[in-house]
Amino acid sequence: MELSRVDAIIERNGSRGASLLAILQDVQDEANYLPREALEHVSKRLELPLARVYAMATFFQAFHLEPRGKYVCTVCMGTACHVRGAARLVEQLERDLEVKSGGTTKDLQFTVEEVNCVGACALGPLVIINGEYHGTMTADRLTKTVEGLKKAEGGTR
């Protein structure tokens, strides 16, 4: 990520300690993760210890310090989804993509994540793939959906 873009984000949110969370969110929105140089730059520009910026970046679940895949598959782990079997969906993704939850495939195609409820409980169990909601999911349909995405990528995996 180019630092000039970080600068633009800082300008937009105000160069104050109180803007730290918003700045990191905007950086992540643009880069899909929080690149180290961006964090160091924010620390310098806001005159905040790097330790504080780093604490913020690791405290919130929304932030990622590593690049993520082209397809982010997020399984909702809210209570409603849980009683309808969400845990099995995570296991299924882990098997299908050969990656642990929270991780990204080596080819940077897929990331498997869990979220503690997105507030679409009536649709549970729910998997969100790049922002698109897939409701009342089953392990079997999930496999097919993922296979479809893999195929669309030219079967590189």
Partner: protein, 614 residues
């Protein structure tokens, strides 16, 4: 957009709007709430727009609205003024609906709601049992307005409460809210008027008004629905609060998982500023107040008041000791009044229709309505708004339509991770703040998760502990280590590795976690495990003594088998990731238990009910 310079001019502005939209105007409203969107509501809306144009329909207006609550049946389409509801509408159905229903006046039976219990069909939205027993003071407007239009809100009487409050002044407004006894909808049930008064009386050059829209309770989505479906109701409530408290700056702290809510709020703030409802000299009065939006970062603990304020200040969401109330010393150490989304949305109603009317709804100690997200193993999932004091039974069985697939009700979980599970014997309890608290559960923000006999209560306790050990901020020993250890112990129960001593240790440790943790996340964290131990002890003992999970959920203790209903279709054998199902075409299949990882796929894919789990 022109600013409305005086409170009295708001009525005139509204009259102009109403002229353009008579009460009997024909409107087709497509629910574009999050649930319906997931079913493709945007496409349905687009299809309506295209079809209305193509078929030259001029007398029907089209409106995209917020969530109607009946997410189970999306995409929902309601035709006003009559209020006929079509459910499960797909984009490809739209041409026919426009032609036959909108133009031809014909009712298309197949889109009507059919009651899963009685088999009856219902035409009108408010006749459906799901809606009939509700009292939708807050949610009702969601279906009638476009959340991106301030004019829609004003046409329905929006901002009249603010005008009235400005006219009567801050003291009257505060008194009215106190008299109405509005209790906080975010969990604690603390009287809002009392909090406002404490904050207003705290001497300071600055007072803040904050809206808690962090909605971290897994299994609750009423705040999301209000923010996305009727953002102005929250904003109006906050402006009225600012008047009563004497504040000039407000914040709305929204979960990052709710991008649509952020977008709607941003737009609503711009529109409100444009009309002079926010900013300097609101409606020409001496009140100046503006609101900023803060996005959360995905941390449940940030819903806690001190953590939320730390987060607005740009620090990590760690709670601090609250020996002095945040209403006196909160954000930047200034008096700060924090209320939940739904609490704020109640305020315009209270002011508009008066405390007397408001207290006539609900019970003496808990006035007004409460929105619940009725989810889990229940037929009609969605958002329901009922007067306080309705029994659990009525909510779950009459509104919710009971338990699906003929299974048996087992428990209902209320209050999220801080709440508890109540068994069938408690179904006739009235739902209000105090009753639930006395039963070891809590109203919480209004998550209501129904569980049937296929839900394992030990697993549920484990689920909440797993949630909380991850969501604890990690500061206190008792919360961080205590919850982690409780999770370990309960996991041992689910894996058949526990003894009765384990259960005793769970109880003792729970007591310390509750007594010695710093914030309410820790002090209430043990409610799920304690309430299940109290009401479902037998089920814990079955895991401990017989190494058996009666609900057939806990993986270590269950097995999958194929029974004689198997037709030998071979589907399971093909899909099994372990390739551990053998059998020939048209012959009974068998699972090799030594290889089975209990993923449950065979159960999912079998069309003949031949896979059993025990």
């Amino acid at each position: 957009m022109t600013r409305i310079g005086k409170a009295s001019e708001l009525a005139a502005y509204r009259a102009e709007l109403l002229k353009k939209r008579p009460a009997d105007a024909k409107v087709v409203a497509v629910c574009c709430g999050t649930g319906c969107n997931a079913y493709g509501a945007q496409k349905v809306y687009a299809a309506f727009a295209a079809e209305l144009a193509k078929q030259g329909v001029k007398d029907w207006a089209l409106r995209s609205t917020g969530c109607h609550g009946f997410c189970e049946r999306g995409t929902l389409v309601v035709m006003f003024p009559e209020g006929m509801l079509y459910q499960r509408v797909k984009p490809e159905d739209v041409a026919e609906i426009v032609e036959k229903t909108l133009k031809g006046g014909e009712t298309l039976e197949r889109f009507l709601y059919d009651d899963p219990v009685t088999g009856e069909k219902h035409r009108l939205e408010h006749e459906i049992p799901f809606y009939k027993h509700q009292e939708r003071l807050i949610l009702g407007q969601n279906g009638q307005l476009n959340p991106e239009s301030i004019d829609d809100y004003i046409a329905l009487g929006g901002y009249l409460g603010l005008a009235k409050a400005l006219e009567h002044g801050a003291d009257w407004t505060l008194e009215e809210v106190k008299k109405a006894n509005v209790r906080g909808r975010g969990g604690g049930g603390f009287p809002a008027g009392k909090k406002w008064e404490t904050c207003r009386n705290a001497k300071s050059d600055k007072h803040y008004v904050i809206c808690n829209a962090d909605e971290g309770d897994p299994g609750a989505f009423m705040d999301r629905s209000v923010l996305e479906g009727n953002p102005h109701s929250v904003i109006e409530g906050m402006i009225i609060g600012a008047l009563a408290i004497g504040s000039d700056e407000g914040f709305i702290y929204v979960r990052h998982e709710y991008p649509l809510a952020v977008k709607r709020l941003e737009q609503a703030l711009v529109e409100a500023r444009g009309l002079g409802l926010l900013g300097e000299k609101i409606l020409g009065s001496s009140l100046s107040f503006d609101i900023r939006i803060n996005r959360g970062g995905g941390a449940f603990v940030c819903g806690e008041s001190t953590a939320l304020m730390a987060s607005i200040e740009g620090r990590v969401g760690e709670p601090r000791a609250k020996h002095i109330n945040t209403a006196i010393q909160g954000l930047y150490n200034k008096p700060s009044n924090l209320n939940n989304v739904e609490t704020w949305a109640n305020i315009p109603l209270v002011i508009n229709r008066g405390a007397e009317w408001y207290t006539s709804i609900g019970t003496k100690g808990s006035t007004g309505t409460k929105i619940f997200s009725l989810v889990g193993k229940v037929n009609n999932t969605g958002l329901v708004e009922v007067p306080m004091g309705m029994t659990l039974r009525k909510i779950i069985f009459e509104i919710g339509g009971g338990i699906p697939a003929g299974r048996k009700f087992k428990a209902v979980q209320t209050g999220g991770p801080s709440g508890g599970c109540l068994p069938a014997e408690k179904l006739d309890l009235p739902v209000d703040f105090d009753t639930l608290w006395n039963e070891g559960s809590m109203m919480g923000s209004g998550g209501m998760i129904v569980m049937d006999d296929r839900t394992c209560m030990v697993d549920v306790a484990k689920y909440f502990l797993g949630f909380l050990k991850f969501e604890s901020c990690g500061k206190c020993t008792t919360c961080r280590e205590g919850i982690r250890r409780l999770h370990e112990l309960v996991t041992a129960v689910t894996e058949g590795r526990a003894t009765e001593e384990t259960l005793q240790l769970i109880e003792d440790l729970s007591e310390t976690v509750e007594a010695a943790s710093l914030c309410a996340l820790g002090t209430t964290a043990t409610n799920p495990v304690r309430s299940t131990l109290k009401f479902f002890r037998e089920e814990y003992l079955a895991h401990v003594k017989e190494r058996r999970c009666p609900a057939a959920v806990c993986k270590t203790l269950i097995r999958y088998d194929i029974n004689e209903k198997c037709t030998g279709c071979m589907v399971c054998a093909k899909r099994c990731p372990q390739k551990c199902i053998s059998g020939e075409r048209k012959k009974l299949h068998v699972i090799d238990q030594s290889k089975c990882i209990k993923c449950g796929i065979c159960l999912d894919v079998c069309k003949f009910d031949a896979v059993e789990v025990k």
